[in-house]
Symmetry: C2
Subunit: 236 residues, 2 copies
């Protein structure tokens, strides 16, 4: 890989916490439904509903909330109380209003990268919610471009590279999801850095053979990014 022109960052669980918020809400959901079923079954049915609705709702808090309500009706055979549905709406609003705190080391890493490279965000999900989170994070000033997409695959990344006339050989993507932030980039000949988050949504999980050498870098946290860049040939 030659000198980088652009570094793109995933946002949720790369620049700030996100999955944790969903897990906390899912814990509340499980507690509310325990009078009807056991915990494991509740989790299973919620995930099934989410997957069934993904093609209609896309990713994001609003779709997740509609799926929680649908699952609550299904698991209770429509006997669920209005107060429980109201609790789910309240939980959704709490998620949408939650403070967006950058993860540790994010600001240091971005300070290092800014000035050396152009930076962009490529994030998947609900347009309105993602824009709101970027604004609340206070990080938007670091980024030349912000792209909110409905799905992250090689085709979508190729369209973005074309749009900004970027050569994949000079492009690096950084994110917590192998499936969404790493593998599609490698397919296009771009570089990728994987920074795992402590928890991954089941839907984003891919199996990787740990014994093989990998054509991408893995960092324990984003604070290690400047050292990786210094060691690599990305600034030559």
């Amino acid at each position: 890989m030659k000198r980088l022109n652009m570094i793109a960052f995933d946002a949720d669980d790369t620049l700030w916490h996100n999955e944790t918020l969903f897990r906390v809400t899912q814990d509340k959901f499980r507690d509310l439904l325990l009078p009807y079923h056991d915990a494991e079954w509740i989790d299973k049915k919620l995930y099934e509903t989410e997957m069934r609705n993904l093609a209609l709702f896309g990713y994001g808090i609003k779709g997740f909330t509609l799926s929680m309500i649908e699952t609550a009706l299904e698991l209770s055979e429509n006997r669920i109380g209005g107060d429980v549905i109201q609790s789910l709406l309240d939980a959704a609003k709490e998620m949408l209003r939650a403070p967006v705190e950058p993860l540790p080391h994010v600001k240091d890493a971005l300070d290092y990268c800014r000035g050396r490279f152009d930076l962009m965000i490529i994030t998947k999900g609900d347009l309105f919610d993602q824009e709101s989170k970027i604004a609340r994070s206070g990080l938007d000033e670091y980024f030349k471009h912000i792209e909110i997409v409905s799905e992250k695959n090689a085709g979508v990344y190729r369209d973005l590279l074309d749009k900004y006339e970027l050569d994949p050989k000079h492009f690096l993507m950084i994110g917590n999801s192998l499936k969404s932030d790493v593998l599609p980039l490698l397919e296009l000949g771009a570089g990728a850095v994987h920074i795992p988050y402590h928890t991954t949504w089941q839907h984003e999980h891919v199996e990787v053979d740990e014994s093989e050498s990998k054509p991408y870098h893995t960092l324990e946290h984003i604070g290690l990014l400047p050292a990786l860049i210094e060691e690599s040939a990305w600034m030559e």
Copy 2:
């Protein structure tokens, strides 16, 4: 105005029906809630809930559905049955799956414009739903750029013009909403054509003094656009 470089079209209620779909669902909602309140009060409370939630949910079917559920709980003091909530979820899915038929004359107008100008869509709303509608409409091949934004105001349009390095003097926007598709463009010095739809969401309504001469064109339907372009100096 000199020769046009780019014509941008609003999508909902300009290229295809949209508000009608919301009205049909709102009629269902009213019928379901009539056991609790009268029609006028139900409409009023739903609109109040939508406006209260707009800053959190943004525009689109998913946010509208969450607002319907919240209003149903409020108007019934949480006594609403699970079967009614399920009906609202079903209505939402029906909206999300509804066929997207271009309005009359849309294809003829686009056929005329294509080749003469670059065309783009600028539409407001839910990213996933809008992308899906553009794909279902079969019209995406006409457009060089597609921009889905969370709000349409002068600042957002200015950012788009900057992004594509477009001079407002050579830019024309076409849409059904004076508030979203016409007035912000005039503010920037761009051209605008207003093509009213037979019904306008209360939130998009603005008062216009009909006695004043207007600095934009109004057409009865999009089929009249080619003639307007021929008469104007937009191709010189």
